[in-house]
Protein backbone atom coordinates (compact mmCIF):
# COMPACT_ATOMS: atom_id res chain seq x y z
CA UNK A 1 0.00 0.00 0.00
CA UNK A 2 1.48 3.37 -0.95
CA UNK A 3 1.51 6.19 1.57
CA UNK A 4 -1.16 8.14 -0.36
CA UNK A 5 -3.39 5.05 -0.37
CA UNK A 6 -2.79 4.79 3.33
CA UNK A 7 -3.67 8.45 3.89
CA UNK A 8 -6.87 8.06 1.86
CA UNK A 9 -7.95 5.07 3.90
CA UNK A 10 -7.13 6.88 7.13
CA UNK A 11 -9.16 9.91 6.09
CA UNK A 12 -12.12 7.76 5.05
CA UNK A 13 -11.90 6.01 8.39
CA UNK A 14 -11.82 9.29 10.32
CA UNK A 15 -14.75 10.76 8.46
CA UNK A 16 -17.06 7.81 8.17
CA UNK A 17 -16.14 4.93 10.49
CA UNK A 18 -18.10 6.25 13.50
CA UNK A 19 -21.45 6.86 11.76
CA UNK A 20 -21.03 3.65 9.74
CA UNK A 21 -20.34 1.71 12.90
CA UNK A 22 -23.45 3.09 14.59
CA UNK A 23 -25.50 2.31 11.53
CA UNK A 24 -24.16 -1.21 11.14
CA UNK A 25 -24.40 -1.97 14.84
CA UNK A 26 -27.96 -0.66 15.09
CA UNK A 27 -28.96 -2.85 12.16
CA UNK A 28 -27.20 -6.02 13.22
CA UNK A 29 -26.89 -5.72 17.04
CA UNK A 30 -23.72 -7.74 16.60
CA UNK A 31 -20.23 -6.28 17.01
CA UNK A 32 -18.51 -8.81 14.78
CA UNK A 33 -20.95 -8.39 11.94
CA UNK A 34 -20.92 -4.61 12.33
CA UNK A 35 -17.15 -4.54 12.22
CA UNK A 36 -17.06 -6.64 9.09
CA UNK A 37 -19.60 -4.38 7.39
CA UNK A 38 -17.72 -1.19 8.32
CA UNK A 39 -14.46 -2.64 6.98
CA UNK A 40 -15.99 -3.81 3.74
CA UNK A 41 -17.79 -0.51 3.14
CA UNK A 42 -14.65 1.53 3.79
CA UNK A 43 -12.66 -0.70 1.42
CA UNK A 44 -15.28 -0.28 -1.31
CA UNK A 45 -15.06 3.49 -0.90
CA UNK A 46 -11.27 3.34 -0.88
CA UNK A 47 -11.33 1.46 -4.18
CA UNK A 48 -13.47 4.17 -5.80
CA UNK A 49 -11.37 6.76 -7.57
CA UNK A 50 -11.64 10.39 -6.40
CA UNK A 51 -13.94 9.48 -3.52
CA UNK A 52 -12.44 12.25 -1.38
CA UNK A 53 -13.38 14.89 -3.95
CA UNK A 54 -17.07 14.11 -3.57
CA UNK A 55 -19.22 16.05 -1.07
CA UNK A 56 -19.16 14.45 2.37
CA UNK A 57 -22.96 14.19 2.55
CA UNK A 58 -23.13 12.34 -0.76
CA UNK A 59 -20.37 9.93 0.12
CA UNK A 60 -22.04 9.20 3.43
CA UNK A 61 -25.35 8.48 1.72
CA UNK A 62 -23.58 6.18 -0.72
CA UNK A 63 -21.72 4.37 2.07
CA UNK A 64 -24.88 3.85 4.10
CA UNK A 65 -26.49 2.30 1.05
CA UNK A 66 -23.52 -0.02 0.58
CA UNK A 67 -23.54 -0.97 4.28
CA UNK A 68 -27.27 -1.54 4.25
CA UNK A 69 -27.04 -3.84 1.25
CA UNK A 70 -24.28 -5.82 2.94
CA UNK A 71 -26.50 -6.23 6.02
CA UNK A 72 -29.40 -7.36 3.87
CA UNK A 73 -27.20 -9.82 1.94
CA UNK A 74 -25.87 -11.27 5.17
CA UNK A 75 -29.30 -11.63 6.74
CA UNK A 76 -30.60 -13.29 3.56
CA UNK A 77 -27.80 -15.82 3.41
CA UNK A 78 -28.16 -16.43 7.17
CA UNK A 79 -31.87 -17.01 6.63
CA UNK A 80 -31.32 -19.38 3.73
CA UNK A 81 -28.76 -21.31 5.80
CA UNK A 82 -31.26 -21.62 8.63
CA UNK A 83 -34.51 -22.02 6.78
CA UNK A 84 -34.52 -25.79 6.97
CA UNK A 85 -33.88 -25.99 10.69
CA UNK A 86 -35.78 -22.94 11.91
CA UNK A 87 -39.19 -22.15 10.49
CA UNK A 88 -39.29 -18.51 11.45
CA UNK A 89 -36.46 -16.34 12.69
CA UNK A 90 -37.35 -14.26 15.73
CA UNK A 91 -35.64 -11.16 14.32
CA UNK A 92 -37.32 -8.80 11.90
CA UNK A 93 -35.58 -8.64 8.55
CA UNK A 94 -32.97 -5.90 8.43
CA UNK A 95 -34.78 -4.06 5.64
CA UNK A 96 -37.57 -2.91 7.96
CA UNK A 97 -35.27 -1.00 10.26
CA UNK A 98 -32.72 0.34 7.85
CA UNK A 99 -34.56 3.49 6.75
CA UNK A 100 -35.57 4.36 10.26
CA UNK A 101 -32.04 3.99 11.59
CA UNK A 102 -30.67 5.91 8.63
CA UNK A 103 -32.98 8.82 9.50
CA UNK A 104 -32.07 8.62 13.14
CA UNK A 105 -28.37 8.82 12.40
CA UNK A 106 -28.84 11.82 10.12
CA UNK A 107 -30.98 13.57 12.76
CA UNK A 108 -28.41 12.91 15.48
CA UNK A 109 -25.71 14.10 13.17
CA UNK A 110 -27.67 17.31 12.48
CA UNK A 111 -28.11 17.86 16.22
CA UNK A 112 -24.41 17.30 16.77
CA UNK A 113 -23.66 19.97 14.16
CA UNK A 114 -25.36 22.65 16.30
CA UNK A 115 -23.38 24.84 18.68
CA UNK A 116 -23.41 23.36 22.17
CA UNK A 117 -25.73 26.06 23.69
CA UNK A 118 -28.23 25.49 20.86
CA UNK A 119 -28.03 21.71 20.96
CA UNK A 120 -28.46 21.63 24.72
CA UNK A 121 -31.72 23.62 24.80
CA UNK A 122 -33.25 21.80 21.80
CA UNK A 123 -32.50 18.37 23.29
CA UNK A 124 -33.80 19.36 26.74
CA UNK A 125 -36.98 20.91 25.30
CA UNK A 126 -37.79 18.09 22.89
CA UNK A 127 -36.37 14.85 24.31
CA UNK A 128 -36.45 15.96 27.96
CA UNK A 129 -39.89 17.63 27.56
CA UNK A 130 -38.60 20.51 29.71
CA UNK A 131 -40.38 23.87 29.69
CA UNK A 132 -38.38 27.04 29.04
CA UNK A 133 -38.58 27.82 32.78
CA UNK A 134 -37.23 24.40 33.72
CA UNK A 135 -34.37 24.73 31.23
CA UNK A 136 -33.61 28.21 32.58
CA UNK A 137 -33.38 26.83 36.13
CA UNK A 138 -31.36 23.80 35.03
CA UNK A 139 -28.79 25.85 33.14
CA UNK A 140 -28.87 28.94 35.37
CA UNK A 141 -29.77 31.32 32.52
CA UNK A 142 -32.70 33.70 31.90
CA UNK A 143 -35.98 32.39 30.48
CA UNK A 144 -35.66 34.90 27.63
CA UNK A 145 -32.24 33.47 26.79
CA UNK A 146 -33.72 29.97 26.57
CA UNK A 147 -36.43 31.18 24.16
CA UNK A 148 -33.85 33.02 22.09
CA UNK A 149 -31.50 30.00 21.92
CA UNK A 150 -34.40 27.78 20.91
CA UNK A 151 -35.38 30.29 18.22
CA UNK A 152 -31.90 30.29 16.64
CA UNK A 153 -31.14 26.67 17.49
CA UNK A 154 -34.23 25.32 15.73
CA UNK A 155 -33.44 27.37 12.63
CA UNK A 156 -29.89 26.03 12.61
CA UNK A 157 -31.33 22.54 13.05
CA UNK A 158 -33.67 22.98 10.11
CA UNK A 159 -30.74 24.03 7.95
CA UNK A 160 -28.65 21.08 9.14
CA UNK A 161 -31.50 18.68 8.35
CA UNK A 162 -31.90 20.22 4.91
CA UNK A 163 -28.18 19.84 4.22
CA UNK A 164 -28.45 16.15 5.08
CA UNK A 165 -31.45 15.68 2.83
CA UNK A 166 -33.80 14.78 5.70
CA UNK A 167 -36.18 17.59 4.79
CA UNK A 168 -36.43 20.18 2.03
Amino acid sequence: MTSSDDATLRLLHERYAQPLWRYAFSLTRDSHQAEDIVQETLLKAWNSPRILDEPVEEVRGWMFTVARNLVIDQSRSARSRHERSIERLPDQPAEDHADQIFDEILIHDALAALSEPHRQVVVLAYYGAYSTQQIATELGIADGTVKSRLHYGMRALKLALQERGVTR
Binding site: A17, V123, Y127
Partner: protein
Protein backbone atom coordinates in the same frame (compact mmCIF):
# COMPACT_ATOMS: atom_id res chain seq x y z
CA UNK B 1 -40.88 47.40 22.37
CA UNK B 2 -43.59 46.64 19.82
CA UNK B 3 -45.86 43.74 20.59
CA UNK B 4 -44.23 41.63 17.84
CA UNK B 5 -40.72 42.23 19.16
CA UNK B 6 -41.73 40.84 22.52
CA UNK B 7 -42.82 37.55 20.92
CA UNK B 8 -40.49 37.35 17.94
CA UNK B 9 -38.30 34.61 19.48
CA UNK B 10 -41.02 32.52 21.10
CA UNK B 11 -41.83 30.54 17.95
CA UNK B 12 -39.50 27.58 18.53
CA UNK B 13 -40.42 27.14 22.19
CA UNK B 14 -44.08 27.17 21.13
CA UNK B 15 -43.57 24.59 18.37
CA UNK B 16 -41.71 22.33 20.81
CA UNK B 17 -44.46 22.66 23.42
CA UNK B 18 -41.90 24.16 25.82
CA UNK B 19 -43.76 27.38 26.72
CA UNK B 20 -45.19 27.59 30.24
CA UNK B 21 -49.03 27.51 30.09
CA UNK B 22 -49.33 31.26 30.81
CA UNK B 23 -46.74 32.08 28.10
CA UNK B 24 -48.50 29.77 25.65
CA UNK B 25 -51.82 31.57 26.10
CA UNK B 26 -50.13 34.96 25.59
CA UNK B 27 -48.33 33.73 22.48
CA UNK B 28 -51.45 32.17 20.96
CA UNK B 29 -53.37 35.42 21.47
CA UNK B 30 -50.60 37.32 19.69
CA UNK B 31 -50.32 34.68 16.98
CA UNK B 32 -53.91 35.21 15.86
CA UNK B 33 -53.09 38.67 14.59
CA UNK B 34 -49.39 38.43 13.67
CA UNK B 35 -48.61 37.13 10.22
CA UNK B 36 -44.86 37.21 10.82
CA UNK B 37 -45.16 34.89 13.82
CA UNK B 38 -47.58 32.66 11.91
CA UNK B 39 -44.97 32.35 9.18
CA UNK B 40 -42.19 31.68 11.69
CA UNK B 41 -44.21 28.95 13.39
CA UNK B 42 -45.11 27.24 10.15
CA UNK B 43 -41.44 27.28 9.08
CA UNK B 44 -40.59 25.14 12.09
CA UNK B 45 -43.74 23.05 12.21
CA UNK B 46 -42.18 19.97 10.55
CA UNK B 47 -39.28 19.72 12.98
CA UNK B 48 -40.94 18.01 15.98
CA UNK B 49 -42.18 15.27 13.65
CA UNK B 50 -38.67 14.77 12.30
CA UNK B 51 -37.15 14.75 15.79
CA UNK B 52 -39.67 12.07 16.74
CA UNK B 53 -38.03 9.77 14.18
CA UNK B 54 -34.95 9.62 16.39
CA UNK B 55 -34.45 8.55 19.98
CA UNK B 56 -32.80 10.84 22.49
CA UNK B 57 -29.21 10.97 21.21
CA UNK B 58 -27.77 10.52 24.70
CA UNK B 59 -29.78 7.34 25.29
CA UNK B 60 -28.65 5.89 21.97
CA UNK B 61 -25.01 6.68 22.67
CA UNK B 62 -25.36 4.63 25.84
CA UNK B 63 -26.80 1.66 23.89
CA UNK B 64 -24.31 1.44 21.04
CA UNK B 65 -20.85 0.22 22.08
CA UNK B 66 -17.73 1.97 20.83
CA UNK B 67 -16.17 0.44 17.71
CA UNK B 68 -13.14 -1.76 18.41
CA UNK B 69 -9.99 0.27 19.00
CA UNK B 70 -8.07 -1.51 16.24
CA UNK B 71 -10.77 -1.09 13.59
CA UNK B 72 -8.52 1.04 11.40
CA UNK B 73 -5.56 -1.36 11.64
CA UNK B 74 -7.76 -4.30 10.67
CA UNK B 75 -9.27 -2.41 7.75
CA UNK B 76 -5.80 -1.40 6.59
CA UNK B 77 -4.65 -5.01 6.71
CA UNK B 78 -7.59 -6.09 4.58
CA UNK B 79 -6.76 -3.25 2.20
CA UNK B 80 -3.20 -4.48 1.83
CA UNK B 81 -4.22 -8.00 0.86
CA UNK B 82 -6.99 -6.73 -1.43
CA UNK B 83 -4.51 -4.51 -3.23
CA UNK B 84 -1.97 -7.29 -3.44
CA UNK B 85 -4.52 -9.49 -5.21
CA UNK B 86 -5.44 -6.70 -7.55
CA UNK B 87 -1.78 -5.87 -8.09
CA UNK B 88 -1.05 -9.39 -9.31
CA UNK B 89 -3.87 -9.12 -11.78
CA UNK B 90 -2.70 -5.70 -13.01
CA UNK B 91 0.89 -6.86 -13.48
CA UNK B 92 -0.36 -9.78 -15.53
CA UNK B 93 -2.53 -7.50 -17.65
CA UNK B 94 0.35 -5.13 -18.24
CA UNK B 95 2.63 -8.01 -19.15
CA UNK B 96 0.01 -9.34 -21.53
CA UNK B 97 -0.22 -5.94 -23.23
CA UNK B 98 3.55 -5.80 -23.66
CA UNK B 99 3.51 -9.36 -24.98
CA UNK B 100 0.96 -8.46 -27.63
CA UNK B 101 3.09 -5.53 -28.75
CA UNK B 102 6.21 -7.70 -28.90
CA UNK B 103 4.35 -10.50 -30.62
CA UNK B 104 5.00 -12.99 -27.84
CA UNK B 105 2.34 -15.63 -27.36
CA UNK B 106 0.21 -15.22 -24.26
CA UNK B 107 0.34 -18.87 -23.13
CA UNK B 108 4.04 -18.50 -22.60
CA UNK B 109 3.48 -15.54 -20.29
CA UNK B 110 0.66 -17.13 -18.38
CA UNK B 111 2.35 -20.45 -17.74
CA UNK B 112 4.71 -19.55 -14.87
CA UNK B 113 2.38 -19.81 -11.89
CA UNK B 114 4.50 -18.07 -9.25
CA UNK B 115 3.66 -16.16 -7.16
CA UNK B 116 0.06 -17.36 -7.56
CA UNK B 117 -3.13 -16.34 -5.78
CA UNK B 118 -3.09 -14.91 -2.27
CA UNK B 119 -5.90 -15.53 0.20
CA UNK B 120 -6.44 -13.20 3.17
CA UNK B 121 -7.70 -15.45 5.96
CA UNK B 122 -10.85 -14.39 7.80
CA UNK B 123 -10.75 -13.90 11.56
CA UNK B 124 -12.84 -16.43 13.46
CA UNK B 125 -11.71 -15.94 17.08
CA UNK B 126 -11.04 -12.72 19.01
CA UNK B 127 -7.35 -12.56 18.20
CA UNK B 128 -5.40 -9.84 16.51
CA UNK B 129 -3.33 -12.21 14.40
CA UNK B 130 -3.88 -11.83 10.68
CA UNK B 131 -2.46 -13.92 7.89
CA UNK B 132 -2.32 -14.13 4.12
CA UNK B 133 -1.58 -17.38 2.36
CA UNK B 134 -0.10 -17.42 -1.14
CA UNK B 135 -0.51 -20.56 -3.25
CA UNK B 136 2.23 -21.43 -5.68
CA UNK B 137 1.66 -24.34 -8.04
CA UNK B 138 4.74 -26.52 -8.39
CA UNK B 139 5.43 -29.90 -9.98
CA UNK B 140 5.00 -31.77 -6.66
CA UNK B 141 1.85 -29.99 -5.50
CA UNK B 142 1.41 -26.57 -3.90
CA UNK B 143 3.85 -24.38 -2.00
CA UNK B 144 2.15 -22.21 0.60
CA UNK B 145 3.74 -18.87 1.47
CA UNK B 146 2.31 -17.66 4.77
CA UNK B 147 2.61 -14.04 5.96
CA UNK B 148 1.59 -13.68 9.61
CA UNK B 149 1.18 -10.33 11.31
CA UNK B 150 1.32 -10.13 15.09
CA UNK B 151 0.62 -6.43 15.72
CA UNK B 152 2.50 -4.77 18.56
CA UNK B 153 0.60 -4.12 21.76
CA UNK B 154 -1.16 -7.49 21.93
CA UNK B 155 -0.35 -10.60 23.93
CA UNK B 156 0.19 -13.72 21.87
CA UNK B 157 1.06 -16.01 24.72
CA UNK B 158 0.76 -16.69 28.42
CA UNK B 159 2.92 -17.73 31.38
CA UNK B 160 4.07 -20.74 29.37
CA UNK B 161 5.53 -18.58 26.60
CA UNK B 162 4.32 -17.61 23.14
CA UNK B 163 1.43 -19.56 21.66
CA UNK B 164 2.04 -22.07 18.89
CA UNK B 165 -0.05 -22.25 15.77
CA UNK B 166 -0.75 -24.77 13.05
CA UNK B 167 -1.84 -24.34 9.44
CA UNK B 168 -4.36 -26.88 8.21
CA UNK B 169 -5.45 -27.50 4.65
CA UNK B 170 -8.75 -29.18 3.80
CA UNK B 171 -9.14 -30.74 0.37
CA UNK B 172 -12.26 -30.79 -1.80
CA UNK B 173 -13.11 -34.28 -0.51
CA UNK B 174 -13.19 -33.01 3.07
CA UNK B 175 -10.01 -34.44 4.57
CA UNK B 176 -7.81 -32.11 6.58
CA UNK B 177 -4.06 -32.22 7.04
CA UNK B 178 -1.65 -30.16 9.07
CA UNK B 179 1.02 -28.59 6.87
CA UNK B 180 2.97 -26.30 9.22
CA UNK B 181 3.44 -25.31 12.86
CA UNK B 182 5.17 -22.22 14.29
CA UNK B 183 5.41 -19.96 17.35
CA UNK B 184 4.02 -16.44 17.69
CA UNK B 185 6.48 -13.53 17.46
CA UNK B 186 4.57 -10.59 19.02
CA UNK B 187 5.05 -7.26 17.29
CA UNK B 188 6.50 -8.84 14.13
CA UNK B 189 5.46 -9.89 10.67
CA UNK B 190 6.80 -13.31 9.89
CA UNK B 191 6.91 -15.29 6.66
CA UNK B 192 7.02 -19.04 6.53
CA UNK B 193 6.52 -21.76 3.98
CA UNK B 194 4.55 -24.96 3.98
CA UNK B 195 3.95 -27.63 1.38
CA UNK B 196 1.25 -30.04 0.33
CA UNK B 197 1.01 -32.60 -2.43
CA UNK B 198 -2.49 -31.30 -3.24
CA UNK B 199 -2.75 -29.32 -6.47
CA UNK B 200 -4.04 -25.83 -5.71
CA UNK B 201 -7.43 -26.47 -7.30
CA UNK B 202 -8.10 -29.28 -4.83
CA UNK B 203 -7.62 -27.05 -1.79
CA UNK B 204 -11.05 -26.22 -0.39
CA UNK B 205 -10.27 -24.46 2.89
CA UNK B 206 -7.36 -23.10 4.90
CA UNK B 207 -7.40 -22.86 8.70
CA UNK B 208 -5.06 -21.51 11.38
CA UNK B 209 -5.49 -23.04 14.84
CA UNK B 210 -3.63 -22.62 18.08
CA UNK B 211 -2.02 -25.87 19.15
CA UNK B 212 -4.46 -25.73 22.08
CA UNK B 213 -7.16 -26.31 19.44
CA UNK B 214 -8.79 -22.88 19.04
CA UNK B 215 -9.61 -21.99 15.44
CA UNK B 216 -8.26 -18.47 14.88
CA UNK B 217 -8.43 -17.86 11.14
CA UNK B 218 -10.32 -19.72 8.44
CA UNK B 219 -11.22 -19.11 4.83
CA UNK B 220 -12.65 -21.20 2.04
CA UNK B 221 -10.56 -21.12 -1.12
CA UNK B 222 -11.70 -18.24 -3.29
CA UNK B 223 -12.50 -19.83 -6.65
CA UNK B 224 -12.14 -16.44 -8.35
CA UNK B 225 -8.49 -16.39 -7.33
CA UNK B 226 -7.85 -19.60 -9.23
CA UNK B 227 -9.19 -18.11 -12.44
CA UNK B 228 -6.67 -15.30 -12.45
Amino acid sequence: MSEHEKFAQWDAAYVLGALEPADRRLFEEHLENCERCQGAVSELSALPGLLSRAHDPEEVTALVPQPPADLFEKTARRAVSARRRRGTRLVLLAAAAVAVILGIGLPFLLRPAAPGPVLALQQVAEQSLSADVGFESVAWGTRLNIDCDYPAGYEFGDANGPWSYALLVTDTKGSTMQVATWKAVPGKKITLQAATSLPVDQIAEVTVKTLAGLTVLQSPMDKNLLDQ
